[in-house]
C-alpha cells in the first residue's frame, strides 16, 4: 500500500515537473537560465543567403547565452511541418527533433490548425517584441489573414518587386500593373516568366494577379470556400489565359523557382523578373549573378507584402533556447544585419520610432545598393489573402496550365 502511494507520488511529481519545464517568457531571467547549455535545432528553408546570417546568429547566441544553434537546411518548409506531424503520429509529445521553424502563411496555418505549435502568447512576451512595428505593419499580427496569437515571432518583411536590365529595356517602358504586363508580354512574346506554382514565388505572382483582378479585396480575407470562389477567380484566369501563350517557352514549361527565374534574366532569356525581397537585385549584382545595369520597379497601385516568422513546435526539446534565439532574431542588432543587402536585405519588422537613437543609427548606416528602391519608393503594400485562396488558385492553375502538355 505504502509502495503504491509512493509510486503515485513519484508519478505526480514527475508530471508536475514536466509542466514546470515549459518556460514562461514573461519571466525572462528564468528563460535565460533554462536556455544555457541547450541545443536549438532551427529548421529553415535553405535560401541562398540564409546561411550567412544564421551562422552569425549561432555564434552570437552561443557566446552571449550559451545556446548552441544548429541550422537544419530545408528544401521546403513543409518538410519540417511534416516532421512534427510524424512525431505527433508516433505519439512523441516531448523531446521533438525541431525547436524552431522559419515559417509563415500556409505552413503556419496548417500547423496551427493541427495543434502542432506551442500554446499561444509566448511571442508577444519576448523582451524585444516591444520594438516590433505592430501598428505600422498589420501583417505582424495577421499572417495571411490568420491571427498570429503570439504563436510565432516576427523575423522579417517581404515585398514584391520587379527587376529589368536597363541595358536591354527602358525603365519607362516597364508595365505599371498586371494589365500592362499582359499587354507588354503580348508585344514581347517569350520574354516574361513566372516560377511554376506551387513554388512560393509563382504563387505570389498569382496572388498579385488576384489582388488586381477582384473588385473588392475584402472578399480575400474570407475563406475561399465560404464565397463563390469561381466567380472571384474568373477574371484572374481570364488574365492568365491571355498571358500564357506569350510566356517564356509559350507556357509549356516554367522556371522552377526564383533563382531559376533570376538566371533567365542573366541569360537574356527573360526581360522582366520579380522577387519578394527588395534588395535581391543588388545582392545578385554584388554576387556577380546579374549585370550591374539591373534596376527595380514596382506597380504604383501596390504590390503584395507579408511578414515571416519563427515558431516553436508543441514538442520542442529546447523551448527556452528557442525563445532566446527568437528574441535575439528580433533584436535591433540582428534586424539591422538582416536588412543589410550584403548579408540578406530583408526590410526590418521593427518600428524605427520605438528604437533608441543608437539602434536607429545601425539602420541609417546601411547602403541599400544601386538596384534597391528606398523604403518610401516601394509603393503601397497589398496584404496576403486568406491561405485558402492560394490553395484554390494553385489547384485551378495546376488544372489549367500545370498538366496541360
Amino acid at each position: 500500500m505504502l509502495k503504491i502511494a509512493a509510486a503515485l507520488i513519484a508519478v505526480l511529481a514527475a508530471s508536475t515537473a514536466a509542466f514546470a519545464a515549459d518556460p514562461d517568457p514573461a519571466n525572462w531571467p528564468a528563460v535565460l537560465e533554462d536556455a544555457r547549455g541547450e541545443t536549438v535545432y532551427f529548421n529553415a528553408w535553405a535560401a541562398p543567403r540564409t546561411s550567412m546570417p544564421t551562422a552569425w546568429v549561432g555564434d552570437e547566441v552561443e557566446q552571449r547565452f550559451g545556446v548552441k544553434l544548429v541550422h537544419v537546411k530545408l528544401e521546403d518548409t513543409a518538410t519540417a511541418v511534416n516532421s512534427v506531424l510524424a512525431e505527433k503520429t508516433a505519439g512523441r509529445t516531448e523531446d521533438g527533433k525541431i525547436d524552431l521553424i522559419w515559417i509563415n502563411g500556409e505552413n503556419f496555418s496548417a500547423m496551427k490548425r493541427q495543434g502542432l505549435l506551442l500554446a499561444p502568447g509566448w511571442a508577444e512576451k519576448l523582451p524585444n517584441y516591444a520594438y516590433a512595428d505592430v501598428e505600422g505593419k498589420p501583417t505582424l499580427r495577421s499572417d495571411f489573414t490568420i491571427p498570429v496569437d503570439g504563436q510565432e515571432s516576427p523575423w522579417g518583411m517581404a515585398k514584391l518587386v520587379f527587376f529589368h536590365d536597363s541595358a536591354r529595356t527602358k525603365p519607362e517602358e516597364m508595365p505599371k500593373s498586371i494589365a500592362e504586363l499582359v499587354a507588354w508580354a503580348n508585344a514581347h512574346p517569350g520574354r516574361f516568366a513566372y516560377p511554376q506554382p506551387p513554388d512560393f514565388m509563382g504563387s505570389t505572382f498569382l496572388k498579385q494577379v488576384l489582388a488586381e483582378s477582384v473588385a473588392d479585396r475584402a472578399v480575400l480575407a474570407k475563406d475561399a470556400s465560404s464565397v463563390d470562389a469561381s466567380a472571384v477567380l474568373a477574371p484572374v484566369f481570364a488574365t492568365l489565359d491571355a498571358l500564357n501563350p506569350n510566356l517564356w517557352r509559350a507556357g509549356k514549361a516554367f522556371p522552377k523557382n526564383y533563382p531559376a527565374l533570376k538566371q533567365l534574366l542573366a541569360d537574356n532569356e527573360a526581360d522582366i523578373i520579380f522577387a519578394f525581397n527588395p534588395a535581391e537585385a543588388s545582392s545578385a549584382i554584388a554576387a556577380g549573378e546579374l549585370p550591374d545595369t539591373v534596376r527595380s520597379f514596382v506597380f504604383p497601385g501596390g504590390t503584395l507584402a507579408n511578414s515571416h516568422f519563427v515558431a516553436v513546435p508543441f514538442n520542442a526539446s529546447s523551448k527556452a533556447g528557442a525563445f532566446v534565439v527568437a528574441d535575439f532574431l528580433l533584436s535591433p542588432e540582428a534586424q539591422a544585419r538582416k536588412q543589410d543587402p550584403k548579408i540578406w536585405g530583408d526590410p526590418t519588422v521593427l518600428a524605427m520610432a520605438k528604437l533608441s537613437a543608437e539602434d536607429r543609427a545601425r539602420f541609417d548606416a546601411l547602403d541599400l545598393g544601386v538596384a534597391t528602391l528606398a523604403p518610401d519608393a516601394l509603393g503601397p503594400a497589398i496584404g496576403e489573402p486568406h491561405p485558402s485562396w492560394m490553395t484554390t488558385l494553385e489547384a485551378e492553375w495546376t488544372r489549367r496550365y500545370g498538366v496541360a502538355n
Binding site: 512525431e87 493541427q114 516554367f254 532569356e269 495546376t398 498538366v403
Partner: protein, 558 residues
C-alpha cells in the same frame, strides 16, 4: 557458424525495412493515420488520387521515360559489346566508362542540363558565330513535355551501370569461341554476337536491367532537374504531395506511392513482353539466316553512342566546374567575364560536417555490408550451391522496389518504434541499399576464385579461418576493395533515404547538394555537385591504392 548466420541476417536486413516501410505506406493509403484523426480504413485516398488532374500524363511520362531510357542504354551497350569486343577501343572505353558509375545521378543531370539547355554551354560555344544568337532561342529542351531530356539524361547515367554488369557477366559466356564460330559461318560481328552470345549474356544481366527500369520509372532527383514539369512524372508529384503543407495530402501521397509501385511493376511486365517480342524477332532472323555481313555502320553507331554518353558526363562535370568559379557569365559568352572563388569560399566553411558524415556513414555502411556479404559467400562455399533464384531476387529487392514506395512508411515506422534519427540508424538504412551492390560486385570474383588454393592451404594444415585470413581474402583484396568503393559510392549518392531517415538533422554532402541546388544558383550547384562527384571517385582511387598495397606488403616480402 558466422557463415551460417550470414544469409538469414542479410535477408532480414534487406527485407525487414522494405516490409515495414510498405506497411507504413499502405495504412495511410487506406486512410489510416491516427495523428490526423483518421483511424478507420477507407479507399477515399485513391478517389482523391484519381481525381488529380493530369494523373494519366504523369503516369505515362514516368513509365515512358523509364522504358525508353532503359531501352536506349541497353541498346547502346548491346551494340557496342557486340561490335567491339576484343578490340583495343573496347578496353579504352571500358576504362573511360567505369568511373562514370561513381558520378551521382544529380551531379550528372545538372551537368547534362548545363550542357544542352538553349542557354547552355554548347549553345554558348557556337554563338553568336555560327548561330547568330545574341539571346538564347526560346525553345524547350530541358524539361520538355515529351521527357526527351529526361530519357537522354537517364540513358547516359544508366549506360555505365549496364555496361559494367555486362562486363561482369561476359566471362561466364562462351563469347570468344562462339564469335569465331559465327564468323566462320559468315555472320557479321554484330549479328554473330547477338545470335550466339547475347541470349545467355542477357539472362545474366536481366535483374540489373529490371533494377534500372524500377529506378528510372520512379526517379525523383533526375526527373526534377530534367523531366517534364507540366505535369511532372508521378514520383516527383508524390514528393510534392508528401511535402505539401496541407497535411491531408499525405493520404493521397501514400495512395500515390502504391500506384508508383504498380507503375514500376507494370513497366517491368511490359519489358518482359518486349523481351518476348525481341526474342521472337531474333529467332525469326536467326532462322532466316540473316547474317548482316556489312555491319560497319551499326558498329559505328554503337561506339559513337557509347563515346558520346561518356563524353557528355565528363563535359557536364567540366561545365559544373566552370560554373563553380564563374563570376558574371552572360549569354552568349563562351567563358565567364571573370572567375571568382566566392562560391567555394561560401561553401567550404559549411562543408566539414556533412563531408565527415558522408564519409563516416558511407564507410560504416560499406564495412557492415562487407561483413555480411563475406559470410554469405562463405556459406555458399560450404554448401557448394550458388544462391537460388529466390535469394538472388531478395538481394535485388531494395533495387527493384521504388524507394519512394517504402521510405516514407519506413520513416513513420522508425518513429513509431521510438527511435530518434541517429548516425547508426542512417547507417542501417544505407546498408539496405549498399548491401545489394556490394554483394553483387563481390560475388562474381568470389565465385571465380580458384578453390584449389583453398585445398592447398588446407593441405598445408591451415584451418578454415586462417585460410580465409591469409589466403583467400588477401587474394581477393582487389575485388574486396572494388566492392567497398562501389558500396561507398552508392552510400554517398543516396538522397531520399538520407533525407527522410536523417530528418534533416543528419545532412550529408548529397542532401546539402540537392537542398542548395533547390536554390537554383548555378555557382552553388557547381560547387556541391563537384563535391558530390569527388567523394566516390576518391573512394575508387583509395581502393586501387589499397589493393596494390596488399600485394606489395604481403607476408614474407622482404
Amino acid at each position: 557458424m558466422i557463415a551460417r548466420l550470414g544469409p538469414p541476417l542479410a535477408m532480414a536486413l534487406l527485407a525487414g525495412p522494405i516490409v515495414a516501410g510498405i506497411a507504413g505506406t499502405l495504412l495511410p493509403a487506406f486512410g489510416f493515420l491516427p495523428a490526423l484523426g483518421h483511424s478507420t480504413l477507407s479507399v477515399d485516398p485513391f478517389y482523391t488520387l484519381l481525381a488529380e488532374p493530369g494523373l494519366a500524363r504523369s503516369l505515362v511520362s514516368g513509365l515512358g521515360a523509364g522504358l525508353a531510357s532503359t531501352m536506349l542504354a541497353l541498346g547502346a551497350v548491346m551494340l557496342f559489346v557486340a561490335g567491339w569486343i576484343d578490340e583495343p577501343v573496347f578496353q579504352r572505353l571500358r576504362r573511360g566508362l567505369s568511373p562514370l558509375l561513381a558520378v551521382p545521378h544529380a551531379a550528372a543531370a545538372f551537368g547534362f542540363a548545363f550542357l544542352v539547355a538553349p542557354s547552355g554551354f554548347l549553345a554558348r560555344l557556337v554563338s553568336p558565330e555560327l548561330t547568330g544568337w545574341l539571346a538564347p532561342p526560346d525553345v524547350l529542351i530541358v524539361n520538355d513535355p515529351m521527357g526527351l531530356a529526361l530519357i537522354a539524361g537517364l540513358a547516359v547515367k544508366e549506360t555505365p551501370f549496364l555496361f559494367l554488369m555486362t562486363l561482369a557477366a561476359l566471362p561466364q559466356t562462351p563469347a570468344g569461341p562462339s564469335r569465331l564460330l559465327a564468323a566462320a559461318l559468315g555472320y557479321g560481328r554484330v549479328a554473330g554476337f547477338l545470335h550466339t552470345v547475347w541470349p545467355s549474356l542477357y539472362r545474366q544481366i536481366r535483374l540489373p536491367v529490371f533494377a534500372v527500369i524500377a529506378f528510372s520509372t520512379s526517379v525523383v532527383d533526375v526527373a526534377v532537374i530534367l523531366g517534364p514539369t507540366t505535369p511532372p512524372p508521378l514520383a516527383v508529384r508524390l514528393v510534392q504531395w508528401m511535402n505539401d503543407p496541407d497535411l491531408a495530402m499525405r493520404f493521397k501521397a501514400s495512395a500515390g506511392a502504391l500506384l508508383q509501385l504498380g507503375v514500376s511493376a507494370f513497366a517491368i511486365f511490359a519489358w518482359i513482353g518486349l523481351e518476348r517480342l525481341a526474342g521472337a524477332v531474333a529467332r525469326a532472323l536467326c532462322g532466316s539466316g540473316f547474317r548482316l555481313r556489312r555491319d560497319a555502320a551499326l558498329r559505328l553507331i554503337g561506339v559513337a553512342t557509347m563515346a558520346a554518353f561518356a563524353a557528355t558526363v565528363f563535359a557536364g562535370l567540366f561545365v559544373l566546374a566552370l560554373w563553380s568559379v564563374a563570376g558574371l557569365w552572360q549569354f552568349p559568352d563562351s567563358l565567364p567575364d571573370r572567375f571568382t572563388l566566392a562560391g567555394w569560399s561560401d561553401v567550404l566553411p559549411r562543408l566539414a560536417d556533412p563531408l565527415l558524415r558522408s564519409i563516416g556513414v558511407g564507410a560504416a555502411a560499406t564495412a557492415a555490408a562487407l561483413a555480411l556479404a563475406v559470410p554469405a559467400l562463405m556459406r555458399e562455399d560450404e554448401t557448394g550451391a550458388p544462391m537460388g533464384r529466390r535469394a538472388r531476387l531478395l538481394i535485388y529487392l531494395p533495387l527493384l522496389v521504388p524507394q519512394i514506395a517504402f521510405l516514407f512508411g519506413l520513416q513513420t515506422a522508425i518513429l513509431a518504434a521510438g527511435l530518434t534519427p541517429s548516425a547508426p540508424l542512417l547507417v542501417a538504412v544505407h546498408l539496405v541499399f549498399v548491401l545489394p551492390y556490394v554483394f553483387l560486385s563481390l560475388s562474381d570474383p568470389w565465385r571465380a576464385f580458384d578453390r584449389r588454393y583453398e585445398a592447398v592451404a588446407f593441405g598445408l594444415g591451415r584451418s578454415r579461418t586462417r585460410m580465409l585470413l591469409t589466403v583467400k581474402l588477401p587474394m581477393l583484396a582487389p575485388a574486396l576493395a572494388t566492392a567497398a568503393a562501389v558500396g561507398f559510392a552508392v552510400s554517398i549518392g543516396l538522397y531520399l533515404p538520407t533525407l527522410l531517415i536523417g530528418a534533416g538533422r543528419l545532412p550529408t554532402v548529397t542532401t546539402e547538394a540537392v537542398a542548395l541546388a533547390a536554390g537554383g544558383n548555378r555557382r552553388v550547384i557547381g560547387v556541391w555537385a563537384l563535391m558530390q562527384a569527388t567523394l566516390p571517385a576518391a573512394g575508387f582511387v583509395i581502393a586501387a591504392m589499397l589493393s596494390r598495397l596488399v600485394y606489395r606488403g604481403g607476408p614474407g616480402r622482404t
